[in-house]
């Protein structure tokens, strides 16, 4: 009898934290875990599914492979980055069920926070910061680091973006945006090790038409939108899905408008549950700078309705309906006097002396 030739299975079975799922060959462990969802999905600070070649760097997504595959069930000796490791048929992965993983992730969070100020109260990314979430879920209550932290002056890199290197965790996502989405790349990473920094090529400005997407991929508050910076806190604004007929062929024209009353404070891409830009028809929904920075009137857009926000998110907290601006009662409670500014927290920070 002729030997039966076994065709490779159409789908690979992988078990992550005791939950088994079938995924297409070529799927990474991280994406398989995302298909299961919840805590089974490892946190990711540098991987971004819409940016080719991203991932592998931050090491927050390390997992334990307890069995390599059905064919070779040996465990892998080291923890592996789930964002860059492909699933094999019969693989057994431990994420939060592995003490080694929790321990390593603890370490990674500590390392990431070594040179990242915890100035969430004044950081523009507060409420949308993945490092903040990671700190809550995997961090320690205190720090063991007692040395001076690295600080940088803020830098304007072009008309729309401000870079505050002090907060950068060198995830490389913005450099992939620069490579893959924009023309005339002028920014990248200079220097090495913990001296490494994001910067532009000697006093160049970033002014290409898709640069704003760098702000959206930055997981922390290192790259901020100069048209929105400190104008509001995200949880005071109300996100609304809207679209417009954009004539830039690369722009999907679908965005989230962040409103306070009728004022559009900020325009961003739409994000999925992993904090990544949402895909439409399989294509990532990047938006152009015109939509993001110049279309700040509701009349510029066709409003679709409120953005669905996870109710656990801080953004869901200050959700006020009807678009009515709350009454300013400061003068009333102060007997008619205008409030006096004692300290501008935006310019003074103990944690981070250079602001």
């Amino acid at each position: 009898m002729a030997e039966e030739v076994k065709a490779p299975p159409a789908n690979f079975k992988v078990t992550i934290d005791n939950i088994t799922i079938e995924v297409a060959p070529g799927t990474t462990v991280l994406n398989a875990a995302r298909q299961i969802g919840g805590d089974v999905a490892p946190p990711a600070m540098c991987y971004y599914s819409k940016l080719q070649g991203s991932g592998g760097k931050c090491r927050t997504c390390l997992v334990e492979v307890a069995a390599g595959s059905t064919a070779d069930p040996r465990p892998m000796p080291k923890l592996v980055p789930s964002c860059r490791t492909n699933v094999m048929d019969g693989m057994v992965v431990k994420n939060i069920t592995s003490e080694r993983v929790i321990d390593a992730r603890n370490g990674v969070v500590e390392f990431l926070l070594l040179n990242h100020p915890l100035d969430c109260p004044i950081c523009d990314q507060a409420g949308e910061c993945h490092l903040q979430d990671l700190g809550y879920s995997h961090g320690k209550e205190g720090t063991r680091y007692e040395f001076e932290r690295r600080t940088f002056e803020k830098e304007d890199i072009g008309p729309y973006i401000q870079l505050h290197m002090t907060r950068c965790i060198l995830c490389y996502r913005c450099t992939y945006v620069a490579d893959q989405l924009t023309d005339k790349r002028v920014h990248g990473i200079l220097d090495r090790g913990d001296h490494a920094e994001i910067s532009t090529y000697i006093s160049k400005a970033i002014d290409n038409d898709f640069s704003g997407n760098m702000i959206d991929v930055c997981p922390v508050g290192a790259l901020t939108d100069k048209t929105f910076r400190f104008k509001n806190r995200v949880w005071f604004t109300k996100p609304i899905d809207a679209h417009r007929d954009c004539d830039n062929p690369k722009c999907c024209g679908k965005a989230t408008l962040w409103l306070r009353g009728d004022d559009v404070y900020r325009v961003t891409t739409r994000k999925d549950e992993w904090g990544e830009v949402q895909s439409y028809d399989g294509k990532p929904g990047w938006i152009c700078n015109t939509c993001r920075f110049d279309k700040k009137k509701t009349s510029d857009w066709v409003i679709e309705g409120p953005t669905k926000i996870n109710r656990h998110s801080v953004i869901a907290q200050g959700h006020y309906e009807n678009g009515v601006i709350p009454k300013d009662t400061t003068k009333e409670v102060m007997g008619g006097r205008a409030p006096k500014l004692l300290m501008d927290i935006h310019s003074v920070s103990e944690v981070n002396p250079n602001k």
């Binding site: 592998g56 760097k57 090491r59 860059r84 370490g107 965790i169 060198l170 990473i189 090495r192 490494a196």
Partner: protein, 451 residues
């Protein structure tokens, strides 16, 4: 006296020139290899048991057999002459004094691997060696050993020398490939491995200078003959660059059957320790391999004599053993301060981390700062435990082995010399008065202001 295969002609006057080298029997291996099949050469290298001399000791023949051979896609051989591991300086000697042995080995290896364009990636600081290599390449070409249709065999091969800008990380094979392509020297995430996608996304083999030079005697004498030299899986000869507190620092070619004790004390090799001082410790394989205290260096935990070969040096794992590494043998006498030496290494790895992955980028700097604190008499006992915990969280969790290379020296120093760290912490004033002998720095160390 052990056999010499690489340095046997090192003292022949004018051996650097093609003429003398050829007269002394050079380039015979090329003549022989071009008449063999590619597969037969790989087979000879497999039989020889040659292990990579760049540090990891991976069997060379096996590495060569992994190279992918997709139809119509060129392949490349890249020689790693970055030699940046502190304590390691053997490749430099080989290239400076007998450049043709490398070129000869490269022609044979290129033929075996099907590489028509091969590269030598050399550290920028070896500027004068670049000229020597380029001259040797030009001579070889002039005599028909390089270029088109080598010795009428139909095989074409060019060798290019590419300088690095002087970064340790560019010795790591994937960072080397990135740098060779003109990019920032960041290690790549594997897979894909260079054997499948290396330089210009083409199948590539990266080998150390000494490894490729060793191919010459292997082809000349046959793999089996080569394997008879040495012991166990440590076949052939190994170049050791010896330095530190020894009477005769230098490059030695050993056949891996001698003991560590003999290597340090015999007149044929290091010639003992100056001024009758006692041996305190040794890093036998380049700065990244674990340091061993004298007792564990000379005898294994089982009480056997420790030998100068891969297996014996690694005996006992990291608890009581170390590694052959790249053969950078650093000897320390009783006056040496382990804390200060460990700081010196930590400083190096911090400076050289590429910064891609968080544990290495942040952890190496943190370790250096804590070591500085202890070294400057401001340490606390908890700092020693903290150091231990930090190295533990770096090791194994990074993209490339530089993270491990930074963690191991700290781990081994604490494992074997914890009492010395504690002495520093408990006797801050006395520790400041010590004379540190060997350790000196190009620039002053600033104690962080927070300390």
């Amino acid at each position: 006296m052990g056999r010499k295969l690489l340095l046997d002609k090192a003292n022949v006057p004018g051996i650097r020139s093609f003429e003398v080298y050829r007269r002394e029997g050079g380039y015979r291996s090329v003549e022989k290899a071009l008449k063999m099949s590619e597969a037969d050469i790989v087979e000879e290298v497999k039989k020889s048991g040659l292990r990579g001399r760049g540090g990891a000791g991976f069997p060379t023949g096996m590495k060569w057999s992994f190279i992918a051979k997709p139809e119509g896609v060129p392949r490349h051989l890249v020689v790693n002459a970055d030699e940046s591991e502190p304590g390691t300086f053997k490749d430099r000697y080989l290239m400076e004094f007998i450049p043709h042995i490398l070129i000869e080995g490269m022609i044979v290896s290129s033929f075996a691997l099907g590489s028509n364009v091969s590269y030598i990636y050399i550290r920028g600081e070896y500027a004068w060696i670049v000229d020597i290599l380029e001259e040797a390449i030009a001579e070889a070409k002039q005599h028909g050993f390089l270029g088109n249709n080598i010795l009428g065999s139909g095989f074409n091969c060019e060798i290019y020398v590419q300088r690095g800008a002087g970064a340790y990380i560019c010795g790591e094979e994937t960072a080397l490939i990135e740098s060779l392509e003109g990019k920032r020297g960041n290690p790549r995430i594997k897979p894909p491995f260079p054997a499948v996608k290396g330089v210009w996304e083409r199948p590539t083999v990266v080998n150390n200078v000494e490894t490729i030079a060793a191919v010459v005697p292997i082809i000349n004498e046959g793999g089996e003959e080569y394997a008879k030299i040495g012991v166990g899986k440590s076949t052939g000869t190994k170049l050791i660059s010896a330095c530190g507190n020894i009477n005769k620092p230098g490059i030695y070619e050993i056949d891996m059957t001698i003991s560590v004790e003999e290597f340090i004390y015999s007149d044929e090799y290091c010639g003992g320790i100056p001024n009758g001082k006692k041996l305190k410790a040794c890093i036998p394989g380049g700065s990244s391999v674990p340091i061993l205290p004298a007792n564990l260096l000379l005898t294994t935990a089982k009480g056997e004599k420790r030998m100068m070969n891969y297996e014996s040096l690694a005996d006992g794992g990291f608890a009581t053993g170390t590694m052959m590494g790249s053969g950078g043998f650093i000897v320390m006498d009783e006056d040496q301060c382990i804390v200060r030496h460990t700081l010196s290494l930590a400083r190096f790895y911090h400076h050289e981390s590429c910064g891609q992955c968080s544990p290495c980028r942040e952890g190496t700097g943190w370790m250096e700062k804590i070591l500085k604190k202890i070294e400057y008499g401001k340490g606390e006992i908890k700092d020693i435990d903290l150091l231990w915990d930090i190295q533990r969280k770096i090791e194994g969790n990074t993209i490339c082995p530089l993270g491990d290379a930074a963690a191991w020296p700290v781990a081994a120093a604490i494992r074997h010399f914890r009492d010395e760290f504690e002495w520093h912490v408990l006797n801050p004033e006395e520790s400041q008065k010590r004379n540190y002998g060997l350790a000196h720095y190009a620039d002053p160390i600033h104690v962080p202001s927070a300390v």
